[in-house]
Amino acid sequence: MTAILPAPDRSEVSGPLLRVDDLHVTFAGRHRVFERHAEQAPARAVDGVSLEIGEGEVVALAGESGCGKTTLARAIMGFVRPERGTIEFRGKPLAKNLRGYRREVQMVYQDPTGALNPRQTVYDSVAEGLRIHKVPGDEAELVDRALARAGLRPPERFLLRFPHELSGGQRQRVVIAGALALEPRVIVADEPVSNLDASVRGEILRLLLQLRRDARISILIVTHDLALAWSVADRVAVMYLGRIVEVGPTRDVLLEPRHPYTRALLDVVPDAQDAGALDRPLLTGEPPDPTRIPEACRFHPRCPALADGRAAAAGVEEACRSDDPRLEPIVPGHLAACHLAHRRPAGFRVP
């Protein structure tokens, strides 16, 4: 273990560090206190998600926009209140007071420019968490150390700068330094590089991987980019309309996807090596809308396996149209919520 501040006792951890169980987050339709609007259907942004993150594990949460991945991340951060379900940290459900939890679970945002107060220096932005939690020790020294760990070296070159004087990559490092100052055990990174230039993305991702290696920090990385997941994640969870439809080790999920939706997402990843990539079929049908989640399997109206008769051939067509598939293991550790995937003999691949 590298030199890090004395972190809270870790011996009690058995099993996953962070565990989400049957989480539901619903946003009410438009509604005001003194007005009576035509009631809009509520959006079931997160609709029964269970997910575990082990110590030092990197989990990628992937899906289209509107699939609920960011809402799930925000619910884990305590920014939105779940309708039901539990979030457990170190085996204990979250207390009403999130203060202690918020020291250990930190977030990195998609837009580092917006996440830093333009009127605060880098020093103040990084020291903010230390002051809030009244962390003992020399503040200046702790800030220096956090900046150095986030790769802003030498720290004194950055301390007194304002966000607008930094590049996008540097701003994201400042956000990460602000999180690191509190010695978190978990970092929730919401599209941490999608607002950055391509050549700069690598450094931020490498930094996150290094934190996992050196300090065994667990990382949940929300992304729309499966290729990014391939390069950083230990496990990948694919979300569709508020639910995880497939989860498993990165290699298994991305090379041998079991859910037709995962396959479809992989098909649209631009692949320069594959000249035929542009000819692959695309998903048809309405884009997903969390205010109107289809009955039975939520993917069935768009499912290519149902449309081209594979589901019928496997004898699951009926089930696809009537039963909501559960997320169950296909092989140990690799789970999918698909009737077809479960009917298939082991080793069968989605063509």
């Binding site: 289209e64 926009s65 509107g66 590049s167 996008g168 990559g169 540097q170 230039d197 391509a198 050549s199 700069v200 993305r201 690598g202 450094e203 991702l205 490498r206 991987l209 729309h224 980019d225 499966l226 290729a227 990014l228 391939w230 390069s231 950083v232 990165t250 991305l254 090379l255 479809a264 997402l265 992989l266 098909d267 649209v268 990843v269 631009p270 692949d271 320069a272 090596q273 000249a275 990539a277 542009l278 695309l282 998903l283 884009p287």
Partner: protein
């Protein structure tokens, strides 16, 4: 036969602190029916080129060089000629189409307006043409009666493409046309553009930061860094075996699923692209270059041939230089 021939194009923005060079002496051509991909990061000057070709930059911006479109120099044209060239010979599809459509005018009327602005036509003709255009981009003709807010992001981008095609241009400049869109929609729009380009035999300048997209749609690829094209050549070759270290790094920044080399090691460079106001000496890439040599700090590299139909601005390609990039 080339539709567009750009030579020695330089563009400087005028700011309070003086002129800022955004494009510094860029030359390229686009043949009829060809797609040139222009790749680079934010601030490299790629969008400036896209706008500059049709002189759509803010007034006062300094431009020099030649932009020859169908045989006529755009930079030398009078404003009245310019109006005739825009849309009919070359048109632009911008990113973020959401903001380009007037929210209170029906989509069909906006397309008709674009047609009428450039050629006299009867109401019936424009209406028929609008229906045809909408179907061309995969939207039902009846949607002409809808307002922009009834369209999704991808559909609005389709409308923008229809408008760009309204006057049968020879050249379409697509500036990050899929960037603001979601993955699935992005793939749809990309396919649409590629299909239209092939069906209609369009020439296209496709500008994006996403090299992996370009490798699919472009015939040729030009990579920009700090206002210059540092490498140009056939798309698959440039992407597959980059001659310039910057191209190599940029290609590495897009991991390929299944490629073990990327597992737990996302590619990319350290540092940031330079500020155009404070360009490094010599080769402007040298502070970030993994293969930097002493000479790079002082000598601004000229263009070297890097295989058939390929060129790159890197001293590694000079005769007698250490081993060129591993391919």
């Amino acid at each position: 036969m080339s539709v567009l021939e750009v030579s020695g194009l330089s563009v400087s923005y005028i700011t309070r602190e003086g002129p800022v060079p955004a494009v510094r002496g860029v030359s390229f051509g686009i043949d009829r029916g060809q797609v040139l991909g222009l790749a680079g990061e934010s601030g490299c000057g790629k969008s400036t080129i896209g706008l500059g070709l049709l002189r759509l930059l803010p007034p006062g911006t300094q431009m020099s060089g030649r932009v020859v479109l169908n045989g006529a120099d755009v930079l030398a044209m009078a404003p009245s000629q310019l109006g005739a060239v825009r849309w009919t010979q070359a048109s632009v599809v911008f990113q973020g189409a959401q903001h380009a459509l007037d929210p209170v005018i029906r989509v069909g009327d906006q397309i008709e307006e674009a047609i009428l602005a450039h050629r006299p036509a009867t109401r019936r003709e424009t209406r028929a043409r609008t229906a045809e255009l909408l179907e061309l981009v995969g939207l039902p003709a009846r949607r002409a009666r809808d307002f922009p807010n009834e369209f999704s992001g991808g559909q609005k981008q389709r409308v923008m493409i229809a408008m760009a095609l309204a006057c049968d241009p020879d050249l379409v400049i697509a500036d990050e046309p899929t960037t603001a869109l979601d993955v699935m929609v992005q793939a749809q729009v990309l396919r649409l553009l590629k299909n239209l380009q092939m069906e209609l035999g369009l020439s296209m300048l496709f500008i994006t930061h996403d090299l992996s997209v370009l490798a699919q749609v472009a015939d040729r690829l030009a990579v920009m860094y700090a206002g210059r094209i540092v490498e140009e050549g056939p798309a698959d070759e440039v992407f597959g075996s980059p001659a310039h270290p910057y191209t190599a790094a940029l290609a590495d920044a897009f991991p390929r699923i299944g490629d073990e080399a990327f597992v737990q090691s996302p590619g990319g460079l350290d540092g940031d692209p330079p500020d155009p106001r404070e360009l490094p000496s010599g080769c402007s890439f040298h502070p970030r270059c993994p293969r930097v040599m002493d000479r790079c700090r002082t000598i601004e590299p000229p263009s070297f041939p890097a295989g058939t139909g390929r060129r790159a601005e890197c001293l590694l390609l000079e005769e007698g230089a250490p081993e060129a990039m591993p391919t």
